[in-house]
């Protein structure tokens, strides 16, 4: 049976706290011998997922939960915030031509997570948002 390792962390809303999760991700990847290019892409997914969640986590419960489940074949990232939620279908797809010359250069997180993952799911309600990202590692 494939080795399966898990990491569960609760991250407070602190500048650059996503680096703590990245450290765990890299240690897990090294332990399982995951190629550096796959870990590099997972780094982008984790970073975008966490900064997005922290930005929307609200002030009442200002932390997010991050769970990684990794095997040699795949990584499943679960990121949960307890903010007011949002309607993913109303988020406009960013486009570089529109961003250049526009006032708002941000708003790339969802596009990056969808494009770089193998599966991406958002569940959002007024009690918070949970995103599930699956990334193949082999």
């Amino acid at each position: 049976m494939d080795q399966h390792i898990k990491l569960e962390i609760k991250l407070p809303k602190v500048t650059d706290i996503e680096l703590v999760a990245l450290e765990g991700l890299e240690l897990m990847g090294r332990h399982l011998g995951i190629p550096e290019d796959k870990i590099g892409e997972a780094r982008i997914l984790v970073t975008e997922g966490i900064i997005n969640a922290l930005e929307h986590s609200g002030s009442d419960i200002p932390y997010v939960n991050v769970d990684f489940t990794m095997t040699k074949e795949k990584l499943v990232i679960l990121i949960t915030d307890y903010g007011q939620g949002f309607e993913p279908e109303t988020v406009e797809e960013p486009d570089i031509s529109g961003k250049i010359g526009g006032d708002n250069k941000r708003g790339w997180g969802l596009k990056l997570m969808k494009s770089m993952s193998d599966d991406f799911k958002i569940e959002s309600s007024q009690n918070g948002t949970r995103i599930t990202i699956t990334k193949k590692l082999s």
Binding site: D16, R43, I44, T47, E48, M116
Partner: protein
């Protein structure tokens, strides 16, 4: 993992070369944009960002690079990147940055 962000800059002929080290987040992106602005009134139109020592970026940091692309575009200039980590290169591709910026092997490749 490098936590502190550092950068150096120098002019190589008519190209402003900025080398970064560490996480290109909000603060890192802002530092790059401010460094670029220092040279703006010198008529610089070509900027090369060497991010060999930056293995982690986020989209907020990259939004500052889009601002640099915008300002260079207005002056008929261009932003170049070198020593991109494959995951960062893929990130830039997804965002469409290479429609306006270019990847080069070294400063000598910039005409």
């Amino acid at each position: 993992m490098v936590l502190d962000f550092e950068l150096t800059s120098e002019l190589v002929n008519d190209v402003l070369v900025i080398k970064t080290e560490g996480y290109i987040n909000n603060a890192g992106g802002e530092r790059i944009a401010k460094e670029f602005e220092k040279y703006l009134n010198q008529g610089i139109t070509k900027v090369l960002i060497d991010i060999e020592k930056s293995k982690v970026v986020n989209s907020i940091g990259i939004s500052f690079l889009i601002e640099i692309i915008e300002q260079l575009n207005e002056r008929g200039g261009k932003l170049y990147f070198t020593n991109l980590d494959p995951s960062i290169e893929k990130t830039f591709e997804i965002m469409g940055l290479f429609q306006f910026a270019e990847k080069v092997d070294s400063v000598e490749d910039i005409k």
